[in-house]
Subunit: 249 residues, 2 copies
């Protein structure tokens, strides 16, 4: 099974419906679909703002589970990771989401794992933090540590998604150019640059070092080498075959 299916995003005492919607969208982006609200304090009975901001992730919003207390919301979870922006008592063994993600996924392979986010204004209470098996703090710049709720959900979900290995980063499909093809390209360029009068025979070795420097960074794939070889061929042909333009006066 995919351990992300065992992740429960638990929002505690959330005040703003819109934040719940934004959280749903962030969760959908990161392949997490189970949302729980614990003791929500939302003054928007129809969750209108939530529906609006969830965009196409309303399935997550509709499937949310609501609990009266924090304790009930995490009762079936084999691990409870609380997120906190503050330091202090009970919060000293806090780690970053990146450090914690692999362990949380291992645990999620065995049972439900709660990732808990506190109130917009005051986060998790000390008595809630004390019930967490793990504590997570998102790295932030000094002087501006207050993260929007859905942004905190996004970063934590992103680290879990990244650690899950579900996503395979895209890689250039084009095969890399072998050295022989590059040498052909350089030979064509040397000829062409002499033909068009960019350099004479004596300057060639020196000038070609500059060309090598640029192409060694820029020409990676067979396609790259083929394009640049074609440019040289065509320039040589044009210099020999196109009628000279009238000189500018």
């Amino acid at each position: 099974m995919n351990p992300l299916d065992n992740i429960r995003i638990v929002l505690v005492g959330t005040l703003y419906s819109g934040n719940v919607g934004s959280c749903c969208r962030a969760m959908a982006n990161m392949g997490i679909s189970k949302l729980r609200l614990a003791a929500p304090d939302i003054q928007d009975p129809d969750f209108r703002e939530a529906v609006k901001l969830a965009v196409h992730a309303t399935d997550i919003l509709d499937a949310r589970e609501t609990f009266t207390t924090f304790e009930e919301a995490v009762a079936d979870c084999v691990a409870v990771a609380g997120t906190t922006a503050r330091g202090g008592l009970y919060r000293q063994h806090v780690k970053t989401p990146r450090e914690t993600a692999p362990e949380l996924l291992e645990l999620a392979a065995q049972g439900p794992v709660a990732i808990v986010f506190g109130r917009e204004d005051k986060g998790l209470l000390n008595e809630e933090v004390a019930q967490c098996t793990h504590l997570v703090r998102i790295p932030v710049a000094e002087g501006y540590t207050s993260i929007n709720l859905s942004q905190a959900v996004m970063i934590t979900a992103y680290e879990l998604f990244a650690a899950s290995g579900v996503y395979v980063p895209p890689h250039e499909k084009a095969p890399l150019a072998p050295q022989g093809q590059k040498e052909q390209m350089y030979a064509q360029w040397r000829d062409m640059l002499q033909t068009i009068g960019f350099m004479d025979d004596k300057q060639s070795d020196h000038m070609m070092q500059g060309i090598h420097r640029v192409f060694s960074r820029g020409v990676r794939t067979r396609d790259d080498a083929a394009i640049m070889l074609g440019v040289a061929r065509q320039a040589r042909w044009a210099a020999a075959n196109l009628p000279a333009a009238p000189r500018e006066s």
Copy 2:
């Protein structure tokens, strides 16, 4: 200098003022302060929504620079990293923010580096993508690839911030318990568990294996060991000294 100071977050053709505000807040969280708008298409002349959602990051909002075109907004930048959710032509050499961050920071140590984000509805145009020196795609789950603009800014800024080394993850300050202290603790527990009648002499070695298993995971620091040693001492004292409670009937 801090290379994050040379990062320019460039929003192209942005439609919603609120998103600009949320971007400012995310930037502040991640230690990036220079915002540019290229050809904004915002129907909120006073940026009211932006001010509201920037929360305490209005200094970034107020200091924003606005340009008529994409080209002008990135003209002074030594690297231009475009973010794109789509694949296709011109977009094959895309990398993840995590892969790209170290190189972008190296470049930012030498000059301004633009991180470019397209329109909420259609992202960057092909002609804009073609002008980028780097392409970045945030890893997302298949089937829900549309990321909110400020969330995309947050993840990209977060990866730059994490790679910058500005943030030092918190680590437990309490010194780890040396083995000798742990042995004292286990000795106290053995005595105590016999005293309270939890195990007799014959069972002790077996039972202590269970205690070792639990404490080997749970007792890490000197403080941890001191607490558990104190528990054992107190339980032994209580068993010997407290008056017996009346039996429940």
